[in-house]
Subunit: 384 residues, 2 copies
């Protein structure tokens, strides 16, 4: 096992009715900025529950945070926080609203051009405290300190992470997810599944507990994902999906093991250029990754094949292909296509993506630092 | 899944050499009380590493905290903390030192008789901040807010829990465990194993992820426990055991599911009366619990039999018996006997234990509140 530091102070309030308890988690005198997205929280009753829990407090609102939250939009919120003297941010929505609010938190007191937080990983010294009400299980943002932000102007989608932007608390009420469109639920299952694989499908690190914890999440997603699509009123299935998505990226399964994240990095380029949903890009890139990098990921792919898909017969090569096919079938069964061509994207994008990554110095990433421009090209050629 | 609140702010520093980093986790000007047990940390080099990490600081020491830490001893430390103006407690040792230090933390500023913290679960308003260097993987105390303390005078072994006594940090360096006697390692495996079962072997709560996470720990303990006994120099096995023991009782597998703890409560009485090691009492009581309570634990025992021991053939009754036998054999294989008579304790103790529990009002506990005095009698009769 590798040495590690694990420290996750997020307080999770999970279950029916927990929104009513959020008032107790925010300092009584703090002026609050309530951030949200396109307004679905007003249609499904979540907004009313949140406002009721905040009754009697000074609250400002900022709606309209997009999927793949835009830097330009978030900077408008930063202006409001500064001007209004906001002392606490409450993000109500999915991963994009949470990520965007983390960026608002970090940018408000930043001395310099806030874009540097993303483009240059510039250190931040202070952040506005934030909390969250999660309405879409997928990104894990509710229990980690990472955020991904997109700049419209330059079509760049970049990430940052800092313990200062850990939510102080996150409310996870599965009832808020009952009205989600099937596409968003399916995306959430794929997103959580690939988050686990970015931390699991690397190389053996003599960490058998972490391996089994990761497999526990994968097996549960395979079991519960289809249930939650089959019956949107199934609270239990939504609850299990929600907790799987959180556990997939809260640091527990990452402690002491190598991590990859190349599939995400390549996927971000596809979203930035072609507008695919984040999870759709993962469903497309993962199978190519598994095939193109099977030499260095061999032992873990075979373990994944055996323990997650029950594939134990045949040569290593055929087991690897079978595991990729099972994974692809799983994503497709959820309604998430797994090839670029399914989204109208051709092989013409490959040199563009490789060129953009090279320009930003992304020329050696993944768990062994061996995902070079040539390897990205090879992966993407398998994704068409 | 049941509603839950999960909040575990302990910072874990895991791996070789992490003791050298503990200075950065303690406020520079704070006067520190270093607490420890019988002095093994002086023989194995841990004490020297800790003192080096604390170089230049004001440090007072308090050694001699016993296994099953004594109230009377801990109150001597409380006097020192008050008199010396100690502002930070650093516990260096196993679960007993950590538990004892949590009690010192809670008792120092307690207004009234500190025994009430244990005997009446009296609320505490303030605690002295504490950190830990764990040297014995077993109790999970390094990443939770529970403590168990024994009063010599009355032979009572009682517990309390409060978020104020969460360690601010815990250093887990598996190298500190390489010199442990086999008996303590074996006890640690049994302790962690039964901690998991107290949170798993209850009734189905539609929480498949939590079930699989619990099984992940059990399977890893079964795999790594014997390795760590077979080769005390095996750092990797010790590291895996250490992380299993922490994950077994840090709240992760408890989130959203029922909990039992009857085996622990009965076991505490056996330790208080007869001086058995804590883990020895668990190894004795657990098999009796599984048999005597199989009617209400049936589904989970059968799941345990199938997924942990691979027992899938036969009637439910024979599978339950087989699972109990496999568990008993596992404990025995580690060198931990599983019957009261193995420790020279006869059936005469049964009415004494039942009488003591009745006197303290412990007449309906366990996950369904159905462990009555009659049921305790039945369980213990199976443990002789």
């Amino acid at each position: 096992m590798q040495n590690f530091v694990y420290h996750n102070p997020v307080k999770v309030l999970f279950g029916r009715g927990q929104i009513s308890n959020l008032g107790g988690e925010i300092p009584a005198q703090a002026k609050v900025l309530l951030t949200y997205g396109g307004g679905s929280i007003k249609a499904n009753g979540v907004y009313a529950q949140v406002r009721a829990a905040l009754a009697g407090r000074a609250v400002v609102e900022f709606g309209g945070i997009q999927p793949n939250p835009r830097y330009e939009t978030l900077m408008q919120a930063v202006e409001i926080v500064r001007k209004e003297g906001v002392e606490f941010l409450l993000a109500v929505g999915g991963g994009s609203v949470l990520d965007g609010t983390k960026f608002i938190s970090a940018a408000t007191h930043f001395d310099g051009d806030p874009w540097d937080i993303l483009a240059r990983q510039a250190p931040i010294a202070r952040a506005v405290p934030l909390g969250a009400v999660l309405t879409l299980p997928a990104t894990g943002s509710e229990m980690n300190f990472f955020a991904v932000v997109t700049r419209g102007e330059t079509q760049e989608k970049l990430a940052f992470g800092n313990p200062l932007v850990y939510p102080r608390f996150s409310v996870l009420d599965p009832e808020t997810t009952l009205t989600l469109p099937a596409r968003q639920i399916a995306n959430g299952v794929v997103d959580a599944f690939v988050h686990v694989l970015e931390q699991y499908l690397t190389y053996p690190a003599e960490a058998p507990l972490q391996d089994r914890l990761a497999e526990a999440i994968l097996l549960t997603l395979i079991e519960e994902g289809p249930k939650t699509l089959a019956d949107p009123a199934d609270y239990t299935a939504r609850a299990n999906l929600m907790w799987c998505a959180t556990m997939a990226l809260n640091g527990v399964i990452a402690a002491g093991v190598p991590q990859d994240w190349a599939t995400h990095m390549i996927g971000h380029e596809i979203t930035a250029l072609h507008g695919l949903d984040h999870a759709q890009t993962l469903a497309v890139v993962l199978p190519g990754t598994m095939i193109a990098r099977q030499d260095t990921k061999r032992e873990k792919i075979l373990q994944f094949a055996a323990r997650v898909w029950g594939i134990r017969e045949g040569t290593p090569e055929t087991r690897i292909v079978a595991a990729v096919e099972k994974t692809r079938e799983f994503f497709e069964s959820l309604g998430v296509p797994t090839r670029l061509s399914d989204y109208g994207v051709s092989a013409d994008t490959i040199p563009v993506i490789v060129g953009r990554m090279e320009k930003r110095g992304m020329t050696a990433f993944g768990e062994r630092g061996d995902v070079t421009p040539a390897k990205v090209r090879e992966i993407l050629a398998l994704c068409v």
